[in-house]
Symmetry: D2
Amino acid sequence: MKKIKVGVIGATGYTGEELVRILVRHPHIELTYASGNQERQAKLQEIFPYLKNAIDLECRAFSSEEAASKSDFVFLSLPHTVSMATAPSFLKAGKKVVDVSADYRLIDTAVYEKFYKVKHTDHEHLKEAVYGLPEINREKIRKASLVANPGCYPTGAILGVLPGVKEKVFMPQTIGIDAKSGVTGAGRKADKALNFSEVNESFKAYKLFEHQHVPEMDQELSRAAGEKISVVFVPHLLPINRGILSTIYVGLQKKMDTAELVALYQNFYKKEPFVNVYADGTLPEVKHAAHTNFCHIGLRVNAERGMAVIVTAIDNLVKGAAGQAVQNMNIMCGFDERAGLV
Amino acid sequence: MKKIKVGVIGATGYTGEELVRILVRHPHIELTYASGNQERQAKLQEIFPYLKNAIDLECRAFSSEEAASKSDFVFLSLPHTVSMATAPSFLKAGKKVVDVSADYRLIDTAVYEKFYKVKHTDHEHLKEAVYGLPEINREKIRKASLVANPGCYPTGAILGVLPGVKEKVFMPQTIGIDAKSGVTGAGRKADKALNFSEVNESFKAYKLFEHQHVPEMDQELSRAAGEKISVVFVPHLLPINRGILSTIYVGLQKKMDTAELVALYQNFYKKEPFVNVYADGTLPEVKHAAHTNFCHIGLRVNAERGMAVIVTAIDNLVKGAAGQAVQNMNIMCGFDERAGLV
Amino acid sequence: MKKIKVGVIGATGYTGEELVRILVRHPHIELTYASGNQERQAKLQEIFPYLKNAIDLECRAFSSEEAASKSDFVFLSLPHTVSMATAPSFLKAGKKVVDVSADYRLIDTAVYEKFYKVKHTDHEHLKEAVYGLPEINREKIRKASLVANPGCYPTGAILGVLPGVKEKVFMPQTIGIDAKSGVTGAGRKADKALNFSEVNESFKAYKLFEHQHVPEMDQELSRAAGEKISVVFVPHLLPINRGILSTIYVGLQKKMDTAELVALYQNFYKKEPFVNVYADGTLPEVKHAAHTNFCHIGLRVNAERGMAVIVTAIDNLVKGAAGQAVQNMNIMCGFDERAGLV
Amino acid sequence: MKKIKVGVIGATGYTGEELVRILVRHPHIELTYASGNQERQAKLQEIFPYLKNAIDLECRAFSSEEAASKSDFVFLSLPHTVSMATAPSFLKAGKKVVDVSADYRLIDTAVYEKFYKVKHTDHEHLKEAVYGLPEINREKIRKASLVANPGCYPTGAILGVLPGVKEKVFMPQTIGIDAKSGVTGAGRKADKALNFSEVNESFKAYKLFEHQHVPEMDQELSRAAGEKISVVFVPHLLPINRGILSTIYVGLQKKMDTAELVALYQNFYKKEPFVNVYADGTLPEVKHAAHTNFCHIGLRVNAERGMAVIVTAIDNLVKGAAGQAVQNMNIMCGFDERAGLV
């Protein structure tokens, strides 16, 4: 099989770096283009010395012409608002695109504009973009030219409640998500609040009820449920590099015990290559998911209170970003969905 | 004023060490006795080299006679079940005792025996023991001979919901506590699961619904409310040394906004020396409380969902253990409640 | 005794914060003025919530007139180059000053200008400034108006080799210092390289042979030895908040064993309140020194190779900065040298 | 090419786990047997949930018959002293063995017995064992049946000084190695001193001059130099999971500058797939090597003092253990040396 030529736009942020790390080992593609906003021109293997044996490729100042001429498939790992200015030229040139930013996730541009504080400038492609959670949209992703890769928090949260929401066992207005994320989720940037000494040996909640990932969760869960769902979402900053643990509280529509709810989840996800439901009320830990594309799920029912707690663990840079982006590429290109992700 | 002679039984665990650290600087007492289960006989300032200028005292193999002869006031910083075998002799000798273990916290010995898996052997003193949360029981503590120092999780949780429970603004059967604790909460012990490499760069929930601190929260909140309250409690292990952040979810009885609930909390705690309610929906972080006896509290109302989130931060070794124990001693001995704790 | 009025200029950096933390508990002074470059006007106890019970003081935008009118004694916790523009007015107004920056440490302004890349603008006061390492200059500090508080690395390094250098048991051109510092040593600032995700789970050497603290070590060790000493110095960045461990390698002039060298060190420092020499080849750890003003020292002789390894541990914010500054104030003001530092 | 059947004896320690992680992705082998001292019988993918898509294999209680019947090639990831009781049966059955323990590294059994406190019981195979540092012994490894995989510290140390020792530019009796290792180096075990709260926010030196890896370094460097070399070695415990940074101090035989010494190193290692020498005095960081089989090397000459500092970074579990073991297998089996390690 001839290898597909792949470009990564924005290869020097944490997600871009993780994309490169995965792609250089991918059996069916060749990484042929990478750009980043580096001060100096440098080779990828100089910027990331662990790539020495894996690739020999210059990380370029971005040029959409050059990127398009060298790539059949493009990952956009750019800040939101920059993606929607960049994607159209690739799409018009017939390239397939996975956008890791938030720009093509929200159907309602008014909501986008409220949370991201800018006007949406690409309504045309927004209409055709597919929300790239394979566990919901695998068939649509297969045919898509533009996939909007989900946010890290929504990935861990949606996968945690989807079976119960689809099967109508949860009361829709009771979903509360207490999520804890490692610091790479905030991106590679200079910020006093992200200084090691500020984050280390501490822990905090932030953006209570106001996080920009809330409308994404509400949109996808409402679609899945066929009725309006709005979640309570409280994110926290964990003093670790990678990983999100989401502790999810839901009210139950009917009496059931842990074994029944586990069985429902295991059945729902039984064909999913990257969702793993633990038996017996065992709970996942961040380290189980780190450096992998898995979403691990554990849960327990509290019968006395008529509620359940569901715990999900993902790596925010893999299933929460770069790994899921590659999973989407695999689906879009007809590869084995696990290729490069085992 | 003549200084009171104080003994610390169990001075080499994390809580015992913190007790010593506080007591050597306390203006109204003299640390006259310390015991610990050290392999070798050693001076406290050799075991903890930072005490060099502060004290010159041998850490002894425990003898209740020696301890009683050298102390007017005794802190028991022992594992549960050991405390109830140790406290009676001090009480009979007329000493005042603060017990840091769980042995005298639960009124109902059946509940104690269910959660701690041993028979309670000191019903006599259990009856007179006072639950040592000054914000609830200050006057009873003043007259007590035996104070049961609260658990670390219950301290952060109870202080977070007490005003709303007392003022009947929360729906009693909606309280959910998502708590995250540093590793010193597990004590100074050899345990593969607490090995640095197992805890670092990870995060997990544990003892879902089953933690031994649940009955303590339920007991004290039910007393305060005058009706049965049972909380949903999910503890997590944070890769930090010290601190507990509790994110508490409650349903509201009536419509109110953040400013009103903050005002209610600020008014409730306005005379409390060690509870600090943040204005304006600002939220506390673990580092605000570390190495202090404060419980910091912040909160926000989600009017759409008719619920509120309350966040509390304490240092599990100070307000959650040794600091609160000294606060109790200050009350029992008629000292300024802040003595040694500023 | 009437309390001395003290001002802290630059109270919101890590060293300034630590100065405030120590000073609010100091028995002989009153903190009467604090300034910082905060965005908003705020009270110190709002910026640092753990100060609630300890002080009620506004943190002001800096005014030298206001500072002088409210303080008898001033700590300058400012970036280098800013201190030398600020100190003169206080000195001319008859205030005593401890400067925590590097501006008054180096006698030779050419060396200062080489390492700090700016012209020195206050030769006048530089001449009278005393290098504030009490273990070397206690008597000079007692009479000084301006004390240049030592750098954090030089404190741990100089105290580690001083006895051997003074007693001529080390070969002067063999001193190598492999030092490892926590991240607060880099100050409270936004810097991509200090982002949590960059520092955590990593470790590196930096500024090999070129660190600005090298001339300070060379100056003070040469003075102490009465001959030119130039050290090899390799600093490293530790993923912890506080603490410096210095592993020091020295060639021995003559045969001696560990016990003899330990005895020499213990004798040299026997009256020092904040230097602690471990017996028997035991070695200090960072946690022994954290949050204290101690310099702990341990050492072992390698007779076969004719050399010794000396390990010192300090808290870079206490003995390496704010604590030593207060120790200097205690000496300058005739207080017990340990006041506020036990 | 038919895949070789591989067994891992001791698959549940940190090194064994890393071996499994690498081997399940290796293109030329099949992992057909794994044993571990688990309490319960379980599948590898249940013990390590991230293996779910990669393998379906039971982790067995060890049986040498079963292991031999299922494997052509065996990795022994066992404590020292256990390996030498286990290896002989595999060797006699004609299997090739890489032993990750220390049992076959030291030629002189008296030295082994001094440092490991047990009698050596397999002199027969010790004689034929090859020290498995490919950069020294590639040709011998190719023909070996038993390879003694190097220790983690010796790997980082030897690779750091080998070029200068072989080329006679270092003074043999001046080599000092200040090494800092992550905590997985101590193995997966319950030990109070390795409890998270003891290691986190601290740092210490240990086993000064006495570490069991010293004779291994001395043996291999003396062989390479053709004269006796004994190093000064000071290991430290870093509060991170993975990685060793070694800061190495050497006296130079002759005048040279940084560029000349870098050139010598780059030339020496120019064909090595897993050694990377940085240009221009740039220095490696632990994170450059983490999760890779690289040894990154940077260095600078201090001409004034006639010495150089060489810094090496490896992942203690990969190049320092499991990765190097697989590199040795690749050589022994005639695979591309990088197979499974890119």
